[in-house]
Assembly symmetry: C2
Homo-oligomer: 254 residues x 2
């Protein structure tokens, strides 16, 4: 960044239009989006202590930084924005959570960041104290959770590399390649990627400004790497070249 980003103020996301519904996870479901790391038995154990939350729309607060932390969250469907606010009102988006992702990191009993839905979402919620007891009873389940935490740490480290090394166009390319991996948002046949977040969400995630994100899109489009269908929908024309761009090869791009 060149100039201080202090003083920016952004709308916090409109207020919820509909209160979230909640009900027991064993009704109807019983299957968690953790099939890749947990056995069916483990999923059943977890589902026993879970509650399902239904957020009917984007822009709804799930929890806010500073609140007492009583739950860990798991996304079944939808996308959630995890962010942190500076005292001056500027914002850092720490990550976007997709189906199968866990969130709700706490420190000394309080949430250290804010979670809001970007789309309508279905989310599982686990009471921390009951989860803790379950993990002590099921060491294998706990080990799987530890693995998941390690992956989350690795993801954060990759973001550090993006912010520390790459300039704006490459940051956006990296972000697009990340989004590409999420099924349901990328149609590989039509090469169509759907973005559930706004330009300023992307900007605050990449440590830049919404205007710079727009300019980066323009640059990628001019070089034939993608084509904007609408602001939140892009056709990826050359994913290979996008990937190489992130890795630093062939960076002849203004």
């Amino acid at each position: 960044m060149a100039v201080s980003s202090a003083g920016r103020k952004r709308p916090r996301g409109r207020l919820p239009k509909v209160i979230a519904r909640e009900f027991c996870a064993m009704e109807g479901h019983g299957r968690l989006p953790l099939g890749n790391i947990l056995s069916p038995a483990e999923q059943t154990e977890l589902a026993k202590i879970a509650t399902v939350l239904e957020y009917q729309t984007g822009g709804m607060a799930i929890f806010s930084e500073g609140e007492d932390a009583h739950f860990l969250y798991l996304i079944d469907d939808g996308v959630v924005r995890i962010s942190w606010h500076l005292p001056d009102g500027s914002r850092q988006v720490l990550g976007f959570m997709w189906p199968g992702d866990l969130f709700g990191l706490a420190e000394e009993g309080r949430y250290v960041n804010t979670a809001e839905s970007l789309t309508s979402a279905t989310i599982f919620r686990f009471p921390l104290e009951r989860l803790r007891r379950l993990l002590l009873q099921e060491p294998m389940l706990q080990l799987h959770l530890l693995t998941k935490a390690a992956h989350e740490l690795r993801r954060a480290q990759r973001q550090i590399i993006v912010l520390g090394q790459l300039q704006n166009v490459k940051r956006l390319a990296s972000f697009i390649m990340d989004c590409r991996q999420h099924v349901g948002f990328f149609d590989s046949r039509a090469r169509l990627l759907r973005l559930p977040m706004s330009r300023s969400d992307i900007a605050d995630y990449l440590g830049t400004s919404a205007e710079s994100v727009a300019r980066a899109f323009t640059a990628l489009e001019r070089d034939g790497l993608l084509r904007r269908i609408s602001p939140r929908s892009v056709e990826l024309l050359d994913s290979d070249r996008l990937a190489r761009l992130v890795r630093g090869i062939g960076d002849n791009l203004r």
Copy 2:
């Protein structure tokens, strides 16, 4: 960053002058630097499977990215640099590890980054397979490790905020405040902080250049926040103002 940082090449750290000694952790020791999170009994269990490594000097490789991962590491004494290299030779320092810190994050059986000693160091080493078995037998120990991982994730998130929101002078201020917390490196009476790393180490950690770090030191010194005794030793004249600077208050600083 303003200009592409591609193409920078830096020395990788000189080769080890002396091969590291290693011996069983139960000889003499039996106490791990994890007293704050582990019970004495748990420390003993861990020490049973540990090996002690002695690195006589800084600049020694502990492991390199891509190598098969067989161990988790715990620092007893000394400082270690964790870094990641881009194909073009530029480098991102992901963090500095201090006494009590765990490192050795792997992905699919391989280390994803490189660890080198910055000072002489004493380091415990745990074989992953035996550690895994121990964690399954001791769920409470595992839960403590999970907590430690959560702290590490939180630290990475703070670094994301630093890189995404702060400009160079504030990044350095933030870094100095981090270093200040480590006993043995900050003498609170003399207000003297000892830095075990070079300017380019700091630069690669903060996503900037060694020159900019030097300029940031100059700026902080000009404003009376600190005084350079030597390049690696600074007197912190006004820690409160340093802290406020990081938080974004009173940023009338060129």
